[in-house]
Every structure is written in C-alpha cells, then in structure tokens.
Subunit: 269 residues, 2 copies
Amino acid sequence: MMKTWTGQGWRDFQDGDLRPDDRGFLLGDGVFETLRVKGGTLRRGDLHRVRFEAACRAMDLDCPARWEAIAEGAETAGEDAMVRVTLSRGAGPRGLGVIEAPRPGLFLSASPVSEPPDGLALVTAPLRRSPSSLASRHKTLSYTDNAAARRAAVRAGGDMALCLTTQGHVSGGDCANIFWICGSELVTPSPDCAIRTGVTREAVMKCAADAGLSVREGMFSPDALQAAEAIFVTNCALGVVPVRSLDGLEFDVRHGAVQALKRAEVIVG
Amino acid sequence: MMKTWTGQGWRDFQDGDLRPDDRGFLLGDGVFETLRVKGGTLRRGDLHRVRFEAACRAMDLDCPARWEAIAEGAETAGEDAMVRVTLSRGAGPRGLGVIEAPRPGLFLSASPVSEPPDGLALVTAPLRRSPSSLASRHKTLSYTDNAAARRAAVRAGGDMALCLTTQGHVSGGDCANIFWICGSELVTPSPDCAIRTGVTREAVMKCAADAGLSVREGMFSPDALQAAEAIFVTNCALGVVPVRSLDGLEFDVRHGAVQALKRAEVIVG
C-alpha cells in the first residue's frame, strides 16, 4: 500500500506523485515517522504525534494534513502493519535556495510486521554522530550515515551498528535506542547523545519501576556497555530486542530484567 | 531537462521513474555531483569523475553507467548549464535492511547558470558537522543539515551558513568551500574538517602560486576568520564569491588577491 495526500483526502499513489525535483529526494529534506498499527488501531499515536510535530517544527515543515487524518490513514493499512509516514518539503529551486511557497508532499506506505529476532549482534560503527545535527536528532530523510553504519555492521557479520557521538559517548543503534542493565539500574543515553527520543524508548522507561529498575540517563563511554549485565535495543517495529553480542563480546539474551521489560512493553500504552 | 538512465542509454524522465520506495527518497541514500557545462563542454570532468567515484566507493554504490556516458549526457544539456547527476541506491526492503540486488537509479537534471552575487553574507550555523560523517564528506542525498543551516542563515538576514565541526573548527559554507587571505597566505580547512573537497576548491589552490599566495590547509578556530583580510567561498555553480560579512562583521569584497583568484579560476582547467 502506498497512499498520498492530495488535499481532498488520501488516494492511492500514482506515478508522478513523487517528482525527481522533490527536495526530499534531492537533499533528504523532510521527515518521517514509523507507526505500528495493531489490531486495527494505531499504537501510541499520541507519542508519535508529539515526536512527528517536534521534527516538523525543527525542520520548519508545515504538514499538509492534520495528525488525526494521518492516524486515520495509517489505520486503513490493515489489522497489523508498519506504516511509514513520509513528509517531504516538495519541489524547489536548484541547490539550497529557500522555497518561497513550499508544497510539502505526504506519503504513507505500509509493510507487514515481522517477527523480532531473539537477539542482535551489534558492531560499533566507525562514523560518529554530531549531537547538534538535525539528522541525528530527528527522523529525517537524511539517513545516509545510519545506512552506511548498517552496511559496515553487516559486512562485519553483525545485524545492527552501534553508533557513538563525536565526543565518544554511546548514542544508539543505527535505527534503535539502546539500554543496558547494571545492577538495579536501567541505563540509557540522554537526549544530548545524538539520539532520537524514541516512542518505544519512552514506553520502556515507563515500565522500569514495575520491573524493579531505576532509570539512569546520561553520557556514557562504550566501556559502560562492556561492563553491562545485559543490553537491549528498542524501536517501534521490533519492540524490545536483546543484544546477543557487541563487537564479539557476548551477552545473555535471556536476562530476566530484559525479558520482563520486553513483556511489559507489549502491555504498556 | 530531466533524464534517466535505462541501460539502453538516456531518455527523458517519465512519471514513475522515481518510486516512493526508492532509498534515495526514503533515506537520502545516494550521491550526487554538480557539473558545469560551458560552451557545450563539461568543465573539469576529470576532477568531478574522481570525486563522484570516491563518493560511490564510500557508499558502496555501483553506478549503472560509465562516467563517459554521464559526461556525454551532461553535455546534451545545452551550451551553458548546471547539470546535477543524482545516483540513488534504488528500491529496497523496509528500514535499513541491506538490499540484496540493488538497482541504483541514475538521473540527470539541468538548470540555467545564474550570475554569481558580488558578495555573500555568512551566518554561523548552530549545528556542527561530524568529520567522520559520510554526509559531511561527500555529496550525498542527505543534505538535511545543510538545508537547515541555510534556512537559519536566511532567517538571520544572511545568504549562506558557515558550518563548524563538532570540534569547533571552521568547516565551510553550507554548499561551498571556504578560503581566507592572511598576508601572503591562502588559508582553508583541511579535508579533516568535515568538508567535501570541492572541484573548484582544488582549482583555486592550483591558482594560488600565480597570485603570489602560498596555500595553508589546517584546522582553524573561527577567530582565524575574524582576523582575515578577506574571505571567499567556492563551488562549481558560483566559482569564487567574496564574503561581504560574517555574523555582521564586514569584509572587503574587492580585495585584490580574491579578485585575482576569481579571474584565475575562470581560466584554470
């Protein structure tokens, strides 16, 4: 399914809806949001809305549709689906010239939900994320660095890249937030660490107390991960996924606290 | 003009040539190169080729056309034109999953050449570039940060953003390299400063000796710019353009050495 917003509501995508002079294509100039539809209902719609609207504000993008219409559109994808909302700045002059009257394009696409893996092998990426970069902090159409980090991780036999900041602090997975368990603490990089403050990240932090954990956000060196009892990553498509190894160092994918958080995340709104 | 490569040569772009599941659109996953056609001939084709091929290698991208065919295609744009070559990774699975058999898409678009301004007002961008980022070092389809820097500069009454690295060193304009004059020295950030090593940058460095200047590449604090006699930026579309002001501090746009380099750049191959 691919839908596009026409101003008169949603319609199926047609050839020509996306033009090659679109800034989203030429410059990665736009944002997206990945939504999970479960049992015909958009999951955590309010959290996604807050994040999507924050990304639009940060990018000076006016979305041509109200969030309610996007959410409704997403729910037409089926009983269970991943829906990606892509908002592009639209066509503009050559180069970086500011568009006088931008006409942003809105696209919805749906994919089946896939079963999360039991565990992921992380490989630390050579490239570092700038904490001040919009591309690091929001879901923009500029994912080159994450895609490159993923390719390097896969080449090294891994499943996902671990990205650090330019200051050398842990940031997160190439498309996921990262957490680790240290005694009774659930530890995760703070928003200053070039992370997207994920919707599932937020949900997991809400579950921590029930799992007997206190949450500690901060700026951590990668050594902190090596000393962790267990590590996991989160995103909206996968939920909570244990980390099987980090740069070859193995971790317990059946750690009790991680399993408890995985179960709790499925329940918490 | 917009052309696309089909394997049987170039043809005019048609609706549907660019699909919304293209990674170039969804993730900014691809590269581009901006070419200048002058008198029906591609200018500095060899330098552009070296840079384009380096970007493809860095991105693990196989270009479906030989450079000669791209150059020939560019030269069909007209006697005088800017031609943008856009290479996208093509369609792939949801998320960052590695594409098994990628079919990269190649697009050429042409724009008229515009007269460069007499001088540009630069405004320092709040965001910082990571020197290890592919998006910083190559012309990728992930230009979100440059576009955001430009918008902020324009909002502040400027024409172009000056970007710094995460370490606080001068990097360059949002879509240009930067140089300044300090006595008999022509100073510019080194390739370690999150810059794209521009084709016009290289040409200007070749002209320096004839203009009585020695070239100094390095990592410089923004203070170095404030103490400069004159500043200019370079790119393939504009050539050499003097900087009129930086964050409100004014500079001489008629500085002799800058004018000499501007004239020399027009001549040097």
